[in-house]
Structures are given as structure tokens and as C-alpha cells.
């Protein structure tokens, strides 16, 4: 599946789409990691607007990207988090280290 993203200097915004479960996370991971490994990344924003479902595997995917970005001294940001996704995120406490931006 093609990844929808925008690069603005060192800031990359990725639009995630559909259901972020075990099946989808597996195929998404290498594509997103390729972007993270691109030269001079400062931040990555996940636009969650079109994510219709997430479970703990999708959460693991997001946490994994946070760790990978941190190793590169870059930050992860979240945007447009829908209610179902928000509930899973709140249960995990991810907001204490991954902020939501407008």
C-alpha cells in the first residue's frame, strides 16, 4: 500500500489510513521506517484522522516508531486522533511522552 506523506524540511507528516492491527502494522513498519531513516529527520507527525481502528498491536507500532525516532533525537507527534484510537492511547499512557498537536 502506498504511504501518504509530506516532507517539510526535517518534519515529516504521515497520514495513516484504515485499521491499524497486527496485519496492517506488519506491512506499514518497513515503509515508515524508511522515512525515519531519511537524512536529517527532526520530527514525524502521525495524522490519525483516517484511522478507523487500532488495537495494542497498532499501539506497539506507534511506540516502536517513538523509540526509533528518539534514537535519532527526533520527536513523534500525533494529530487528529479519533475517539476509538484516543481510548486505546489513553489506556496506555502514551500521551505523557507523545504530544498531540493541532
Amino acid at each position: 500500500m502506498n504511504l501518504d506523506f509530506k516532507i517539510d524540511g526535517g518534519d515529516i507528516c504521515v497520514k495513516l489510513v484504515g485499521e491499524l492491527d497486527e496485519y496492517r502494522a506488519r506491512t506499514l513498519r518497513p515503509d515508515v521506517d524508511k522515512l525515519i531513516d531519511s537524512h536529517g529527520i527532526k520530527s514525524m507527525t502521525f495524522d490519525m484522522k483516517s484511522v478507523t481502528f487500532i488495537d495494542s498491536t497498532g499501539l506497539g507500532f506507534v511506540l516502536g516508531r517513538y523509540k526509533k525516532l528518539r534514537q535519532k533525537k527526533a520527536e513523534l507527534l500525533l494529530k487528529n486522533v479519533p475517539p476509538q484510537v484516543d481510548k486505546v492511547f489513553r489506556t496506555s499512557g502514551i500521551y505523557s511522552f507523545v504530544p498531540i498537536v493541532e
Binding site: Y23, S56, K87
Partner: protein
Amino acid sequence: MNNYFMMKLPSDGKNEAFARSVVAAFSLACSPTVEEINDLKTAVSEAVTNCVVHAYKDSVGVIEISCETDAAENAMTVSITDYGCGIPDIAKAREPFFTTRPDEERSGMGFTIIETFTDEMYITSSPDKGTTVTMKKVFKGC
């Protein structure tokens, strides 16, 4: 009248979306709210993921899902059974963030999410025989 159904499917990751959607569709008779449907879908997805990722690891086995509505309580009970490796320490497995596979970026939140998103959760498991996770969701509406 209490309604019920059972299904069997192979522990293929592709089936997760199907499994949670079927259970969600069955719950519609209880007039759940959108949030309650999402809670149920998320909880079912966690239990099915456990079968795919942990119970049968690199093999494919059978997952049995049974659902029963309770008309008097406007609730639904979902049982998800595998015949895989079993859980050696259930108390440990229930701890938030505990995972046996940290190398794979597992969040360790599966059972915590089922517990938080449903009203009751029971786990029975024996090593090399399998695991059954039973969850009950009460639909309160509005």
C-alpha cells in the same frame, strides 16, 4: 430469548478484522452505542491477536469464537479459545506492559485493554493445551 453463535477460523492475521467485525455485527441486536461497539471490537481484536501471535506463534491453528447475548441484562459474552501453547503465568500475563516478545514491539497491553474495555474478563489456560479468554460486555446505551 438469548441468541448465540459459534465460529471457527484459522489463526491467520488476515482474519482478525473479520472476527471483530462479525462479533460487532452480532452485538447490534443489543442496541449498543458506537463507543460500546468499538470497545467490543478492540477487546475481541486483542484476544484474537493473542491466538495468532502467542498461542500458535509461527504455526496456524484453529480459533473458536462463541458469542451469547443475555437479553435480561442486555449483555453479551464472548469466548475465544485456542489449542495452542497456553499461558504459564496468567497473573504475569495480565500485568500492563508485560510481554514475552518485546523484540517485536509488542505493547504488552492486550489483557489490560480487554479488562478496561469490557465489564468482566476470565482467562483459563493450561500449558500445551490452550487458552480460553471470556469477556462480558454490558450494553448500557447512551
